[in-house]
Structure formats: structure tokens, C-alpha cells
């Protein structure tokens, strides 16, 4: 299994541009998540999904959108990039809720908005 795969690894955007961060998992996990990691700030949840067709906002959803049309894919969309969205983005998945289902993370996407 490849686990959780994120693309691209790096991206530089200009203010106002849009882009989609791709995330796919091959573990048939129901739950998927997008986090952003800012220096010295830990990880903050942007959006999550408990299954295909169901998404919900996390802690910091403003400026982002997601969709979950399949179990495998959970893309994150930035419509109008802003410098405040410069961060490292991590996608993760888990089989279920609770202590028996740890999160599996992708390698991250480093995004710079200038």
C-alpha cells in the first residue's frame, strides 16, 4: 500500500491564484483530514470527512474548500490564495474513530504564497 499520497510536494503561488492540493489514500479509510502546520503552531484542522459525500469544517476552514466524491480522494481547494495561507499542508486518514484508529499522514505539501 502506498498509504496517503499528496501532490504536489512544493508549490509557489501568487496572491489571488487558485490551486488544488491532491490527496489520495489506498487503505479504504472512511475518515480523511486536512491539517496545516505553521512554524511553532502545531497542526490545525482545516476540514475533515467521515465518508464519501460528507465533509465538515475544522478549526481553520476560511479560504479553503473540499470535496469527497470517492472514498480514496479528498482534494483541498484554495480559491484566492493569500500570504496567510503559506504553510505546510498535511492530509491524513483513519479507518475509524477512537484509539484503535491512529491517523496516517501524507508527506505534506509546502505552499508559499507571495
Amino acid at each position: 500500500n502506498a498509504g496517503v499520497t499528496q501532490t504536489p510536494k512544493f508549490r509557489i503561488l501568487k496572491i489571488g491564484q487558485s490551486m488544488t492540493l491532491q490527496c489520495t489514500q489506498d487503505m479504504n479509510h472512511n475518515y480523511m483530514y486536512w491539517y496545516r502546520q505553521d512554524p511553532g503552531m502545531g497542526l490545525k484542522l482545516i476540514y475533515y470527512s467521515v465518508g464519501a459525500g460528507i465533509t465538515d469544517k475544522g478549526e481553520v476552514p476560511n479560504g479553503y474548500n473540499v470535496s469527497r466524491s470517492t472514498t480514496e480522494d479528498f482534494p483541498l481547494r484554495l480559491e484566492l490564495a493569500a500570504p496567510s495561507q503559506t504553510s505546510v499542508y498535511f492530509c491524513a486518514s483513519s479507518r475509524d474513530r477512537g484509539h484503535n484508529s491512529p491517523l496516517h499522514f501524507g508527506n505534506g505539501t509546502r505552499l508559499t504564497v507571495t
Binding site: V4, Y31, D56, A92, P102, F105, N107
Partner: protein, 112 residues
């Protein structure tokens, strides 16, 4: 709301010395706590979870509900322990899903 506090950003220890990473939490429900680790150029991965009461790579962590703590300990640090460590707390959202709140992380540097 849940909150996880890791007070020290950077911890430098000599090889063979004990290492302790502090984690305190606040949560009104029954907590489920984890330690995640990110080695250089690797993805974030689970190190251990309180429910398992296990020792992984020599690390242990005991949940102390009275002190609302879940400190990570290892008696003898090794160079390969140099990494970023995150304490995390599970909470349950509207759909009862597994949502983790992360602390800000501890950068551990083991000096040879």
C-alpha cells in the same frame, strides 16, 4: 473545547541522558491521548497511545487524569530520537468522528 499544551519548543539532551516531554491537556470528556513523531524528511507517524500502555522505541507515556498530563519519557536518549514530537488529544465532533487536537510540538535534539 479541547486544548493540548506542550510548554517546551526545543529540548536538547545528551545521548544516554533521560528525556521527558511534557504534555498537558484540557478536555471535558474522557480523553484519548497520543504521541506522534516526525523524523527528519519523514511523514508524521504515531509513536504511542495511552490506551495501549505500551513502550515504543523505549518511550513510555502515562496518562495522569488528576494532573491532566500525558508526559513522554525515555530513560536513555539515542541519536535516532532526534525528531519533532507532538502530543495529541482525540475529541468527537458532530458526526462522532476521530478529530485530533495537536500541541505545538517539541523539537528534540540528541547531542552525541
Amino acid at each position: 473545547a479541547q486544548r493540548v499544551t506542550q510548554p517546551e519548543k526545543l529540548l536538547s539532551v545528551f545521548k544516554g541522558a533521560p528525556v521527558e516531554l511534557k504534555c498537558n491537556y484540557s478536555y471535558s470528556g474522557s480523553p484519548e491521548l497520543f504521541w506522534y513523531v516526525q523524523y527528519s524528511r519523514q511523514r508524521l507517524q504515531l509513536l504511542l497511545r495511552h490506551i495501549s500502555r505500551e513502550s515504543i522505541k523505549g518511550f513510555t507515556a502515562d496518562l495522569n487524569k488528576g494532573e491532566t498530563s500525558f508526559h513522554l519519557k525515555k530513560p536513555f536518549a539515542q541519536e535516532e530520537d532526534s525528531a519533532m514530537y507532538y502530543c495529541a488529544l482525540t475529541s468527537y465532533g458532530y458526526y462522532g468522528n476521530n478529530r485530533l487536537a495537536f500541541g505545538k510540538g517539541n523539537q528534540v535534539v540528541v547531542i552525541p
